[in-house]
Amino acid sequence: MDTGRKTAVLKDLREHIHRLERLEGPARRSAVKALPFGIPALDGLWPEGGLPASALHEVNSVSAAGFAAASAFAAASAGRLGRHVLWCTTAPDFYAPGLAQVGLPVSRLIVVRARSEKEVLAVMEEALRHASLGCVIGETPRLTLTTSRRLALAAENGATTAFTLRRRRKDSALEPIAAASRWRIGAAPSTPHPIAQSGRGRWTLELLRSRSGATGSWNVEVPDAQGYLHLPSALADGSAAAPSERRSERRAG
């Protein structure tokens, strides 16, 4: 009884401090706190048990195929959230049938074609603050510390997940931004398949930085139609090399 009251008081105080820190009204309670990948090695990196839901995440890529992978990563994550998704870009060249195959139900997708990069950011911020969406995805080549902080705050206040997709040069340095996690995705040779000529695609998924401090690199298979990534099955090709690959993953996690 006594301990129960104590925890309740502590909880109140924590919420109070959180509000003071953010200088905002009562933070909206989000139904979804985290966005689990369904892969223990990845989900264990965050205390929430998955990618923080009300936060900004940055997905980098260095090539056209990497950008497609980054789009699919964001789309799959958004699809798992189960609410409406807003995708804002200056050049909407994504292909809805392909997005549906990585787990984003297109009936929940709202597309906004912005006329400038600045408008992408403005639309993202407004959509995040509106708090009626599950996820907002924006394609922004440039992002500064200030703009990223605005987006991160909007994501937190609106209890909405935000992804920014960015294409950058191979050698460009990672500038500081206020994202809860920063990823880099590139293509990797697909799972060898004994019968068909090419198997399920694979990515090299790198967590460059995250608020929890964890980093790592994984070799994963592209999302399935439900939006879940998979670690490549060790027995898929029946080779003896598989166990060592698994060990390296565990170390990275």
């Binding site: 809805a96 392909g98 009936s107 074609r113 407004e126 293509a187 695609g201 592209v222």
Partner: protein
């Protein structure tokens, strides 16, 4: 802008169309012909002729009695119909309609396009209309009535110079006396000293001249849409600041929404008119993605546009109209989140549509086509149509439009290439699936008749996966061209 209904023939049906028919003022002693149809005009009968004279020219002429009251009522109805083009429309008896196109023309793709749209719609009603756009109502009236073209867009007052003086909406008597002294065109009038005009021809002439040239204001009686929910607010003192205008919106929206709630309706189209003290009207028009009657939503959207309103010397009344409504049942409050309507993005869609343009906010619907770029098409976000595609055919997440040509090195004619160069980078192909053959849709366009594409899913040594296709049109002595159409995740 002004649309002139040249031949008011409400009951002129197909049977009468071939016969020479006139509408004449049968109750008056002079029995003047007021309007003629095409067949009568071909016989040389013009409005203004005595009916007896017309009968002498063409004995078989059919004379119908003039019904000025019915005509005026029909014109009012047509003016109300024209509210689809702009929130500010006025009927100008006996045969004209003014449409204030300020800020409306771009919605139709420009001024010329807007006039064409209107002319086509009038033709659809069975009306012969002449439409003109100019800087002032008077100039538009003049051009619509006297310019030889059916559609006229005027940019400068000089366009009026060659028109006859009757284009100034003056009485026939004034016109005759001007004609007698040799003042035949508007240019003639502009060249003589102004002071001499009122003494001889009355004050009306100068006023009409100034109105046509846009130098004198002209008040137009706005037509309000019939059977619409509206709320009016009249101020004791004229208001002018943006804050006051916003406060007005805050006062008008809640009672309007309460009225909508009573009839279980929601607004799809909303107009807000500000009536200025100098008899001009400023307007804001909104379209909503979904029927709504949330005051806060209306206030937010309208307040965002208040900057476009020029209050001039002050606004003395305001009218908010929900002129297109749809049934909207009372909705439940979501108990889980505790926030009314959270999770419904239609408000957001409206806000963004106002910000970036309604065409740039859309949903995606599936379209039954084998041609990859046609398999999806934009759709109205309010409808959120179902979208589904075959799940067993792998599709890329990014699709290039148009497909980008690539240089390939193919070993065998019907096999996927061994290498290809795209955007200056070489890719050696390790694995490939295919072909998936797609035929052109010959029922869409003739040039698609022979079109055949063979799609291959290829993977290079880094694991990057592309969607290549070979344009397999059967041409003689030519090598096939290859394109990259998309990138897989």
């Amino acid at each position: 802008m002004e649309a002139r209904l040249r031949r008011l023939s409400g009951e002129a049906n197909a049977a009468l169309a071939d016969k020479p028919t006139v509408i004449a003022n049968l109750e008056d002693q002079n029995r003047l012909v007021l309007a003629v149809n095409g067949a009568a005009a071909a016989d040389g009968i013009t409005p203004g002729l005595a009916l007896a004279h017309a009968r002498a020219v063409q004995p078989g002429v059919v004379a119908l009695p003039a019904q000025p009251l019915d005509d005026a009522r029909a014109l009012e109805r047509l003016a109300a119909w024209c509210l689809r083009y702009s929130p500010l429309v006025s009927a100008c008896s006996p045969d004209s309609i003014w449409i204030d196109a300020t800020g409306a023309a771009h919605l139709f793709g420009g001024e010329e396009k807007m006039l064409q749209t209107i002319a086509a719609a009038m033709a659809g009603h069975g009306l012969t209309a002449r439409v003109a756009m100019a800087a002032s109502p008077g100039a538009a009236w003049a051009l619509a009535h006297f310019c030889p073209h059916a559609i006229t867009v005027s940019s400068a007052p000089a366009d009026l110079n060659d028109l006859p003086v009757m284009a100034l909406r003056i009485s026939l008597a004034t016109g005759r006396s001007l004609w007698r002294v040799g003042l035949k065109t508007i240019a003639d009038l502009r060249h003589i000293p102004r002071a001499a005009l009122p003494r001889r021809f009355g004050k009306d002439l100068l006023l009409r001249l100034d109105q046509a040239l846009g130098q004198a204001p002209e008040s137009i009686d706005a037509v309000l849409p019939p059977a619409a929910k509206r709320k009016r607010l009249v101020f004791a003192e004229p208001i002018g600041t943006a804050d006051d205008l916003k406060r007005t919106i805050g006062l008008l929206a809640p009672p309007l929404c309460a009225e909508l709630e009573k009839s279980q309706e929601g607004a799809r189209k909303l107009d807000l008119l500000f009536f200025r003290t100098d008899n001009r009207v400023e307007s804001i028009r909104l379209a909503l993605a979904r029927p709504s009657r949330t005051p806060a939503h209306f206030i937010k959207l309208l307040s965002d546009k208040v900057e476009t309103v020029d209050p001039g010397f002050g606004v003395d009344s305001a009218v908010m109209t929900a002129w297109r409504t749809e049934p909207l049942l009372p909705h439940q409050i979501d108990v889980d989140s505790g926030v009314d309507g959270a999770g419904d993005p239609s408000d957001l869609v409206d806000q963004l549509a106002n910000q970036v343009g309604a065409r740039n906010v859309y949903c995606i619907a599936s379209h039954a086509s084998d041609i990859p770029e046609r398999a999806m098409k934009p759709a109205d976000p309010a409808r959120s149509p179902p979208a589904s595609w075959p799940a067993d055919l792998p599709r890329p997440v990014r699709l290039f439009s148009p497909p980008e040509p690539v240089d390939v090195m193919a070993m065998l004619p019907d096999h996927p290439p061994a290498r290809f160069t795209w955007r200056g980078e070489g890719h050696a192909i390790k694995r490939a699936d295919g072909p998936e053959r797609v035929y052109g849709e010959w029922w869409q366009a003739e040039r698609e008749q022979g079109e055949v594409r063979d799609y291959f899913r290829v993977e290079d040594e880094q694991g990057e996966r592309f969607w290549l296709y070979r344009d397999s049109r059967t041409t003689e002595g030519q090598t096939y061209r290859w394109y990259v159409h998309g990138v897989f995740a």
